[in-house]
C-alpha cells in the first residue's frame, strides 16, 4: 500500500473524483497552474485540463457564490479558500445562500458543494493564516463540517464529501499537511460523514480531539500511560453532524471526559460536546468535564503562539487533574 502524507491523500481523492465524475470541478486562487500554495492540487490541471481544474480571480465571495451557482446548475464543485482566515469575505454567500438554498426551496435546489479550507495554527504565520473557527461554521444550520486528522481519513472523507448532496466544509489541518505519512490505499474508499473514531481504547478517561490536535493527543495519551492512566482516545472527525453516540458510549464507560481543540474556549466545539454529554450521560460522570483549548483571545503572532496552542504536556496536566478530581 502506498505511503501518503495529508497533502498527497487529499490530492489522491481529488484525482479519483475528477476521473470518476465529469461534474466535478476543482478551483480556487492559485489552485490550477501552481497546484495551490500548499501544492495540494498539484498536477491535477495538467491531467484534467483547465476547464476542470482552474485558477480564479482573487475574490472569495464570488468563488463561493459561483460555486453555489454551479452546484445549483448540476455540477459538483470543489472550491478552495486559500486560508481559513479568508473565508470571511465569503461568509455572506456561505450563510445566506449555500447553507440555506435547499431549505429555502424545499429541496428543489440543492447544493452539492465542497469547500476545502486549510485551517489551524502552529505554523508561525501571519495574521489570519492560523484560524480555527470550526465552531462558528458548525453553528450555521444546513452545513456539514468535517476535519480529518490523518491521510487515510482525509481521502475517505473527502470522497464522501464530494459525493454528498449537502454543502460540506472540508477543513484541512495544515500544520500536519506533511508532518507524517500513512498507508493509504491507491483505490477509492469512503468514510461516512458524521462518524467519530475510537482511535485507542482506554478505561479511566475519555479524551476527544480532532485535526492537528490528534497528534498532540496521541503524544499526551502515551505520556499518561507512563503515569498509569488508561485514556480512551476519540478522533471526532466530524464537527457537524457530531457523533454523540460514540462519545456517550465512551463517557459511560470511563466517567471522565476531556475535550481538546485549538481556538477559543467559549462557545466552542468542546462546549457543545459537554452540553450533550451532560444532557444524556450526567449520571455517569464522576467529575466535571474539562476543556483543553486556546483562549478567548486573538490568535497570537508567532512569538506568542507557543502559549496558545495546546501541547502534550499541557494535555497531560489536564488529564491528571481530571483523574484526580474525584479523589
Amino acid at each position: 500500500m502506498p505511503a501518503m502524507n495529508l497533502v498527497q491523500a487529499i490530492q489522491s481523492a481529488l484525482d479519483y473524483k475528477l476521473g470518476d465524475d465529469e461534474r466535478v470541478l476543482v478551483f480556487g486562487e492559485d489552485a490550477g497552474l501552481e497546484g495551490g500554495v500548499f501544492r495540494v492540487t498539484q498536477g491535477l490541471q495538467e491531467k484534467y485540463g483547465e476547464r476542470r481544474v482552474f485558477d480564479t480571480p482573487l475574490a472569495e465571495s464570488v468563488i463561493m457564490g459561483a460555486g453555489l451557482g454551479m452546484a445549483v446548475a448540476g455540477l459538483r464543485p470543489v472550491l478552495e479558500i486559500q486560508f481559513c482566515g479568508f473565508i470571511y469575505p465569503a461568509m455572506n454567500q456561505l450563510v445566506t445562500h449555500v447553507s440555506r438554498m435547499r431549505n429555502r426551496s424545499r429541496g428543489a435546489f440543492t447544493v452539492p458543494l465542497v469547500i476545502r479550507l486549510p485551517y489551524g495554527g502552529g505554523i508561525q504565520a501571519l495574521e489570519l493564516h492560523s484560524e480555527s473557527m470550526e465552531a462558528m461554521l458548525a453553528h450555521i444550520p444546513g452545513l456539514k463540517v468535517v476535519i480529518p486528522s490523518t491521510p487515510y481519513d482525509a481521502k475517505g472523507l473527502l470522497i464522501s464529501a464530494i459525493e454528498s448532496e449537502d454543502p460540506v466544509l472540508f477543513m484541512e489541518p495544515k500544520k500536519v499537511y506533511r508532518a507524517f505519512r500513512q498507508e493509504v490505499p491507491a483505490e477509492a474508499y469512503r468514510i461516512p460523514l458524521g462518524k467519530a473514531s475510537v482511535v485507542q481504547a482506554g478505561t479511566r478517561l475519555t479524551l476527544v480531539a480532532y485535526g492537528a490536535m490528534m497528534r498532540v493527543a496521541r503524544q499526551a495519551v502515551e505520556l499518561a500511560a507512563k503515569e498509569g492512566l488508561s485514556v480512551e482516545l476519540i478522533d471526532l472527525r466530524s464537527i457537524y453532524p457530531l457523533d454523540t453516540e460514540t462519545l456517550l458510549e465512551s463517557v459511560k464507560k470511563t466517567g471522565r471526559l476531556a475535550v481538546l481543540h485549538e481556538g477559543p474556549t467559549s462557545f466552542g466545539v468542546a462546549a457543545e460536546i459537554i452540553a450533550r454529554v451532560n444532557e444524556e450521560a450526567l449520571y455517569w460522570l464522576e467529575a466535571p468535564p474539562r476543556r483543553i483549548t486556546g483562549f478567548d483571545t486573538i490568535m497570537p503572532l508567532p512569538m506568542g503562539e507557543q502559549h496558545y496552542m495546546p501541547t502534550p504536556e499541557r494535555v497531560l496536566y489536564e488529564l491528571i487533574q481530571l483523574h484526580n478530581q474525584a479523589e
Binding site: 480571480p57 464570488v62 460555486g67 453555489l68 451557482g69 448540476g74 445566506t96 438554498m101 435547499r102
Partner: protein
C-alpha cells in the same frame, strides 16, 4: 446594437416614446400584433397583481412586500427575450418577469405570506428563488453561466438586480468572474432611481451604470426601461451575444420606481411629489397602450375586460393562499440536509414531547 449605444457617450436606446410613437425603426422587434397585445396584457396582469398585493397587505392577509409599479416593461420586456430553457436569477422586484417565466401569482402571495413553498415553482427548474441579500445573486448567475459553458450548453442566464446592487462587492466580483470566464450571462440592472431612500446620483459617481461594463471588459448598454420594445431588443441582442460564446453583457434599464420600496415605506420622506408627477406620464403601460390603440389593437373595452380578469385571478389566488395551513413542525426539520442527522431528530422529538404536554393540559 450593443456597441452602437455607448453609455460613455450618453447614448440610450429607445424605440417607443412616451406617446407610443415608434422613434427607432432599426431595432424594432419583429412581433406579430397578437404578440404585442399579449405583452401588454401580461404587463397589465402584473400591474394589477401588484396593486392588489398592496391591498392584501393592508388587509393583513400577507406581510410586507416590495412594490413593482412602474417596472413592468423592464421585467416583461427582458423576460420575453429569453427561451424557456434559459435561467432566471431574480432579486425581488421582477414580478412581471417571473410571471412570464411561468411563475404564479399564488406563489408570489404565498411567499409573502411567509411560506418557503412560495419559492417552489413546479416545472420551472431554472427559476431561482428570491434573493434577499442585495446583489449576492450576481455571483450565482456567474456560476450558473460557468456551468452552462462547461457543459457546452446554449442556454443563457439573466440576472436581475437594482441600482443599489451595483454598489455591492458581489456586483464587481460577479461581473469580473463572468467576463474572465466568458459566462453566458445577461446582467440586467433595473435602475429605478432609488435604493429605498437613496437616489441614484448618490449611489455611485459613475454617470451611468451601464458604463461600469467597460471596466470588466464586457459590452454595456443603457435602455429606456419604460419602453417594452427597447428592453426587449437589447435583451435579445445580449442573449445572442452570450449564447454565441462571446461572454456576458450589462444592460441598464432606466426606469422609475413609481411606488414605495415596500408596503412599509413612505417615499414622501425622501422624494418630492413633483418628481413622481414628472414620471407618471412615462408609465410603461400608458405608452404601450397608446401605441396599441393607435394601431387599433386595443380599446377600453378590452382594457376593462383584461383588468377584470386580472383582478379575479389575483383574488382567487389570494383566497387559495388564505386557506393553506401553517408550516408543519416536520417541515421545519425536513429540508436542512439530504438526510436527517440524529441531533435534528432528537431536537424534533424533544419539541414534540413539549407539544404533547401542552396538548394534555
Amino acid at each position: 446594437m450593443l456597441t452602437s449605444y455607448d453609455p460613455l457617450k450618453g447614448k440610450r436606446l429607445q424605440i417607443l416614446d412616451e406617446s407610443g410613437r415608434i422613434v427607432n425603426h432599426k431595432h424594432l422587434p419583429e412581433w406579430t400584433d397578437e404578440a404585442l397585445a399579449e405583452a401588454y396584457r401580461l404587463m397589465l396582469r402584473a400591474r394589477v397583481a401588484d396593486e392588489k398585493s398592496l391591498q392584501f397587505q393592508r388587509q393583513k392577509r400577507i406581510h410586507t412586500l416590495p412594490v413593482n409599479k412602474g417596472q413592468e416593461a423592464a421585467a416583461v420586456g427582458s423576460a420575453l427575450a429569453l427561451e424557456a430553457s434559459d435561467w432566471m436569477v431574480q432579486s425581488y422586484r421582477e414580478l412581471g418577469a417571473v410571471l412570464q417565466k411561468g411563475g404564479t401569482i399564488r406563489n408570489h402571495l404565498l411567499y409573502f405570506k411567509g411560506s418557503e413553498w412560495g419559492s417552489v415553482h413546479p416545472g420551472l427548474p431554472r427559476l431561482l428563488p428570491l434573493s434577499v441579500p442585495i446583489g449576492s445573486q450576481i455571483t450565482h448567475a456567474a456560476g450558473i453561466g460557468h456551468a452552462i459553458r462547461y457543459q457546452g450548453g446554449s442556454e443563457v442566464v439573466i440576472c436581475y438586480f437594482g441600482d443599489g446592487g451595483t454598489s455591492q462587492g458581489d456586483f464587481h466580483e460577479g461581473l469580473n468572474w463572468a467576463a474572465v470566464f466568458k459566462c453566458p450571462v445577461i446582467f440586467f440592472c433595473t435602475n429605478n432611481q432609488y435604493a429605498i431612500s437613496l437616489n441614484r446620483r448618490h449611489q455611485t459617481a459613475s454617470a451611468t451604470l451601464a458604463q461600469k461594463a467597460v471596466a470588466y471588459g464586457m459590452p454595456g448598454i443603457q435602455v429606456d426601461g419604460n419602453d417594452l420594445l427597447a428592453v426587449h431588443a437589447a435583451t435579445r441582442a445580449a442573449a445572442e451575444h452570450a449564447r454565441s460564446g462571446q461572454g456576458p453583457v450589462l444592460i441598464e434599464a432606466y426606469t422609475y420606481r413609481m411606488g414605495p420600496h415596500t408596503t412599509a415605506d413612505d417615499p414622501s420622506l425622501y422624494r418630492p411629489k413633483e418628481e413622481e408627477e414628472e414620471w407618471a406620464p412615462r408609465d410603461p403601460l400608458i405608452r404601450l397602450r397608446l401605441h396599441l390603440e393607435s394601431r387599433e389593437l386595443w380599446d377600453s373595452a378590452r382594457e376593462d375586460e383584461c383588468r377584470a380578469a386580472a383582478i379575479a385571478e389575483t383574488d382567487a389566488a389570494m383566497r387559495e393562499v388564505d386557506e393553506l395551513h401553517e408550516t408543519s413542525l416536520d417541515e421545519i426539520f425536513a429540508h436542512q440536509y439530504s438526510d436527517r442527522p440524529a441531533e435534528l431528530r432528537r431536537q424534533q422529538a424533544a419539541y414534540e414531547a413539549y407539544l404533547q404536554w401542552k396538548e394534555a393540559r
